[in-house]
Symmetry: C2
Subunit: 335 residues, 2 copies
C-alpha cells in the first residue's frame, strides 16, 4: 500500500507537509504543493481513512440497518438515505437484519466497531428492546425509523401508521363496504400494531362487525399472506374488500385473489399500505396509502447528521402523514 510516507519521500518533503497539502489546513508554498500533487498522482496515493479516523476520532461512516431490503419500502428508503448521505459526504455501511433482532444487535455492534458516527436503524422488533440497545452504543448516534415508538433516548422518524390504516379503512367504508377483511402484520411491531389499531378504530366508529375470520395476521411476508388469504377467500360470505397492511403481503393476497378467479374491484376491493412501482402498472392500478418515504429518509438523515454534529437537544419524534392514492382496485358499493 502506498502511504503518505512514500509520497513525502517522492516529493522530498515531510509527511506533515503532505498532510497539509491534502487537507489544506495550513499554508504550503505553491512549489512544494505542486511537487506533492505530482507525487500523489504518480504513486496513485489515496488517504487511509482508517488511520485518519483513528487519529481524528471522527469518521464519515454511517450505519443503516433495515429488516428486509427486498421490501420496496426499504429499498426506496435505503436508496434515498444513501443518496442524502453521499451528498453530505458520508459513506453508508449497510446491514440487513432479516427481521432477526439478534442479528440486528450484532449489526449495531458492527457499526459501532467500525466507528460509525451514527446509525439509522429500522427496528425489526418490539419498541421496548431498543431502550437497552441504546445504552451500549459507545457514543454512536442512533436514529430509529419506520418501526419505533415515539419516545426513548433516540430520535425517531415514523409515519402515522394508525392514520394510514384509518385512511384506508374509511375509504372502503365510505364507499359502502361493510364486510371488510384485514391482512395484518406481526402484532409485536409498533407500526404493525398501530395499523391494526387504526383499522379497528375505523370499523368501530362505523359500527361494523369485525369477525375473527376476517382478521388475519402474518409477518409482513408474501407466503403467509398467500395462504391466509386463500383460506379467507374460501369463506362464505366473502368479504367485499380487503385491507392489506403492507406491500409484500399484498403480493400474496393478489395471488390468492387470482387463484380464486375473483375480479378486482368487481368481486372484491383491495387497498394496501405502501406505494411501489408496480402498483400503478397493475391491472387494475392498485389503491394504496402512500408512505412519504423520501421525507422519512431525509428526516432520518438530517437527524443523525445533526446529532453527529453535536446537537444535544432532547430526543425528537417526527411523525409524517401518509396519503391515500385512490386508483382502480377499490370500487363503490353505492350504486
Amino acid at each position: 500500500m502506498v502511504t503518505m510516507k512514500d509520497v513525502a519521500k517522492a516529493a522530498g518533503v515531510s509527511t506533515a507537509t503532505v498532510s497539509a497539502v491534502l487537507a489544506g489546513t495550513s499554508y504550503v508554498s505553491p512549489a512544494l504543493k505542486a511537487r506533492v500533487e505530482v507525487a500523489v498522482a504518480e504513486l496513485g496515493y489515496a488517504p487511509n481513512s482508517m488511520a485518519r479516523s483513528l487519529k481524528t476520532g471522527q469518521s464519515n461512516l454511517v450505519g443503516l440497518i433495515v429488516p428486509d431490503i427486498t421490501n420496496p419500502f426499504f429499498t426506496a428508503f435505503v436508496d434515498r438515505v444513501q443518496a442524502e448521505m453521499a451528498r453530505n459526504s458520508y459513506a453508508v455501511l449497510l446491514g440487513i437484519s432479516d427481521n432477526d433482532t439478534a442479528r440486528e444487535a450484532g449489526l449495531l455492534g458492527l457499526m459501532r466497531s467500525h466507528l460509525a458516527a451514527g446509525t439509522i436503524l429500522c427496528p425489526a422488533g418490539e419498541a421496548e428492546r431498543y431502550a437497552a440497545l441504546e445504552k451500549n452504543l459507545g457514543g454512536m448516534k442512533l436514529v430509529l425509523a419506520d418501526n419505533a415508538a415515539p419516545h426513548g433516548a433516540s430520535d425517531t422518524v415514523i409515519i402515522d401508521n394508525r392514520g394510514a390504516a384509518l385512511l384506508a379503512a374509511r375509504h372502503l367504508i365510505s364507499n359502502g363496504h361493510k364486510r371488510i377483511a384485514a391482512m395484518l402484520g406481526p402484532r409485536h411491531r409498533h407500526n404493525s400494531a398501530e395499523r391494526w389499531n387504526g383499522f379497528r378504530a375505523a370499523m368501530e366508529e362505523a359500527g361494523l362487525a369485525l369477525p375473527d375470520a376476517y382478521v388475519l395476521h402474518g409477518a409482513f411476508r408474501e407466503d403467509e399472506a398467500h395462504t391466509e388469504a386463500a383460506t379467507l377467500l374460501g369463506r362464505d360470505p366473502l368479504p367485499t374488500a380487503i385491507f392489506v397492511a403492507n406491500n409484500l403481503m399484498l403480493i400474496g393476497v393478489m395471488k390468492a385473489v387470482a387463484e380464486r378467479r375473483l375480479r378486482v374491484p368487481d368481486d372484491i376491493s383491495i387497498v394496501s399500505i405502501d406505494d411501489f412501482a408496480w402498483a400503478s402498472a397493475f391491472q387494475p392500478a392498485l389503491t394504496v396509502v402512500r408512505q412519504p418515504i423520501t421525507a422519512m429518509a431525509d428526516a432520518a438523515v438530517m437527524r443523525v447528521i445533526a446529532r453527529i454534529q453535536g446537537d444535544q437537544s432532547p430526543p425528537q419524534s417526527l411523525v409524517l402523514p401518509p396519503e391515500l392514492l385512490v386508483r382502480g382496485s377499490t370500487r363503490s358499493l353505492h350504486r
Copy 2:
C-alpha cells in the same frame, strides 16, 4: 470512547492481555480471562475495528457498488451479497452509482480509502472504462458483476445475456410470432448490447424482418420505456409481441399497454428479462427470462473472498445460464 486501555486498567492487566483474551491468540489463565471478560461487559467495551485494521493491515470491509438499487434485480443481488458477506464475517459498504460513471469512480475511491479488502462492482458504463480504474485500486480486489466484458484484469461474473435474449425471442418465434418489437437498453452497456445481439440473432435465424420502428432503445428506465412503448403501440400494424430487456422498462411497457387497452396475451404477447416478485402476481402472470441472481451473488462473493485470501490465479470469467419461465403473458399464434 472506552478503549482497551480502560478495560486493562479495570481488570488490572495489560492491554496485551486484553488483546490476547479477545482475539484468543495466546494462552491466558482462566482467572485473568474472567476478569477481563467482566471488565469488558461492565464497561461495554467494543473493539475499534479501525485501529485493528490499521495495525493488521487487513479489514473485514467489502465494497458493493450497484447502479440502481430500486431495480429489483440489484435489490436481490445486494440482499444476497450482504447475506453471504455476513456469513463470512465481512461488512458491506454500499455505494449507489446512480448510473453515473463519475460517481462510480468516486465510490471506488471511497471503498479504497476505507481499506475495503475488496469490492464487487456492477458497472454502469462501458467495459473499456474499467481497465483504467483497475490500475488505481491500491491492492483492493475487484470483481465485476452483471455488466462486464469477460476479459481484463478482474474477475467477472455475468449471465449469458445474448443467450437470455435468444431464449426470449425464440420462445416468441416458436409460438408463431413474426412481428416482434424490442424494448432495449442503452447500447454502450455490455449486457444491454448482448441482449440486442441475441434478439437480432434470433430474428435473423428465423428470417424475420426487424423494422426500425420496432426496435426501441431506452436507458433501462421506466419513464422512457413508457413513452417509447406508447409510440410503438400507436403504429399500424401492431407487433404481436414485445421483447423487453429489463424489468424497469417492463413497467413502462405494461403501462402503455394498459393505456391502449390492449389485452395481454390476446392482443399482444410480452416477454421480459428479469424475474421479480410481482411478475407472478400480475394478471396474467408474466413470462420472463430469469437471471440466476443468487448464483451470481454467491459467485461474486466467492471470487472476491478468494482474491482477498490471496488467490493469484489469472482473472476468471464466470458466465451463468439464464432460464425461461413461461407464464401467461405470451400466447401461441398457432391455432
